[in-house]
């Protein structure tokens, strides 16, 4: 960093809240400006300009996740029309890698947050439960031929022999992922910015 440079207060606050370093935030800010075409907020249409994303079968769900108020940590429910850079960072922070110095409790919270994000992606009607229909919508999507014999064993697995299947709640969801360290898989790894020499 430049010798006589002080990190602006809001940047530091963002860094603390989202866990990104200031260089990463600067890079993400530039990316945000690119996507928003220098506006202060982005809307769903702005994500259309990413060719790599077009190929993704769950593209719609991913973009939707950015505008989902539950992910934006707002008390209200439903969808936002547009998000600003802070919201953008909040969503991106679901994908930040674990740090070496995290303790048990932090790791657990970290994991829960990531899983909650995934849960929200499935639970499209915001009722706190993933039904079979919602599951099918995400996994098999509109482009895949849906046949009635789709087993969905994952969903029915946690039910007892007499339980009627209603839908999985977040706790059931958490139970399913026990033992699998998804937090090591669910992150975007930034290259170490320090090694690139620059004057800022």
């Amino acid at each position: 960093m430049g010798s006589a440079h002080s990190v602006p207060a809001e940047m530091r606050e963002l860094a603390d809240r989202t866990g990104f370093t200031s260089e990463q935030i600067e890079h993400l800010h530039r990316r945000f400006k690119q996507l928003s075409r220098d506006q202060l907020t982005i809307r769903k249409e702005n994500f259309d300009s990413i060719p790599d994303l077009e190929f993704n079968p769950i593209r719609g769900k991913i973009v939707h996740a950015f505008f989902d108020k539950r992910n934006l940590r707002q008390e209200s429910d439903g969808l936002a029309d547009e998000i600003n850079f802070e919201d953008f960072l909040t969503i991106m922070s679901y994908f930040r890698p674990i740090e070496m110095n995290m303790d048990e409790e932090q790791l657990d919270r970290f994991r829960k947050e990531k899983l909650k994000f995934l849960f929200h992606m499935y639970d499209s009607d915001h009722d706190g439960k993933i039904t079979l229909q919602e599951y099918r919508n995400v996994t098999y999507g509109p482009s895949c031929p849906v046949t009635t014999e789709f087993p969905a064993p994952a969903l029915t697995r946690c039910l007892g022999p007499d339980q009627v299947y209603e839908g999985i709640t977040f706790d059931d969801f958490l139970k399913m992922w026990q033992g699998i360290d998804i937090e090591t898989k669910m992150h975007v790894r930034f290259l170490n910015m320090e090694t690139i020499a620059h004057c800022y």
Binding site: G2, I62, E149, T195, I196, H198, C199
Partner: protein, 446 residues
Amino acid sequence: MEDLGLAAARVGAVWLALVFAFIVLPSALGVSLGISEAYMRVLVKTLEWATIRIEKGVKKPQPQMLKTPAANGIIERDETPMEKEIARLHRVDFEFSDIFYFCRKGFEAIVEDEVTQRFSSEELVSWNLLTRTNVNFHYISLRLTVVWVIGVIVRYCLLLPLRFTLAAIGITSMIVGTTIVGQLPNSSVKNYLSEVVHLTCSRILVRALSGTIHYHNKENKPQKGGICVANHTSPIDAIILTNDGCYAMVGQVHGGLMGVIQRATVKACPHVWFERSEMKDRHLVTKRLREHVADKSKLPILIFPEGTCINNTSVMMFKKGSFEIGGTIYPVAIKYDPQFGDAFWNSSKYNIVSYLLRIMTSWAIVCNVWYMPPMVRKEGEDAVQFANRVKSAIARQGGLTELPWDGGLKRAKVKDTFKEEQQKNYSKMLVRNGSIGSQPTGTESD
């Protein structure tokens, strides 16, 4: 007031005389006086000094510097193919895990995608004393700031007028010269003179940009009756190449000054200029180019198959039209050194005038041009495969990365056919795995 006018006229005359003596005349004769070389040496020393001062100014101890090419992005991507990754996760017998892979890929694409990256200027590893490349100006030291100020004065007050004069001289002499030569009847004398005029004007224009060009492997220079293909970074690519040889250019007819130049030059040398309506008809274009190539006495055609300007860190999809014509292809790789000036034309951000202004106020344009051995289409190879083969060769030679994407994505969206194919792949895999996944658990209804 009269004295002032007289004095100004005298200064102007002296200025022009100097320019002619030191730059225009040597260009005409193909001789170099070594002024550019001296300038470049001074420039390199200054920039090296600046880099060292900047590094010293950074108080934090720098770890061992890895040669991470900034152009290749800021995130580390996991390149395991879709099938393997999903299979790996499937061992845990979970359908939810499919979503994982796509979720992560989606986020990686949002943070940074390969294509959009190519349409913005390459980021420099260290600052080159131009404000435009400085992403975050911090005061490092007084000396550095002084050097920067001197740099600004030199560039705007000394170099810009000089370059502007040269460009004006170059363009005017090109128009006048080719018009004169165009009046002559077709003969070998006319061809010779036309070559002289084109070469001289190119040399003047290259000096107008303070261009330092290194040509490699001159023995592979494109021959008559061949087609020269190169990667495209900016409109001045054509000048860079014509500095060393004569080509027949291909392009659309423009209006304005460009149109005047086009109309003048086509009289002297058989360039192929298309009307806008003709460009749409691919067969017409191919036919005209074929006729040109068939005549072995005609100059080699110069084509940029990418169709648009890319930022010189990668080579994008080559349009197959140029490769259907037949004949010998002479690939040429052009790589600019971004340290001295950014040659990339971001047409959505700058128009041509501001682009030229930026070029003329950079330090210099330094580039390497590699002539590569000629390539022909092999038996059983179709135009697309041939195009990809040439593209790989150029990318390898120039040290650029290769992308399968179409440069047209700068403005358009991904074609639906590509999307559907990817989705079909995924569905096929799911149905297959779905049936496999349910086999061990025999209690599931099938």
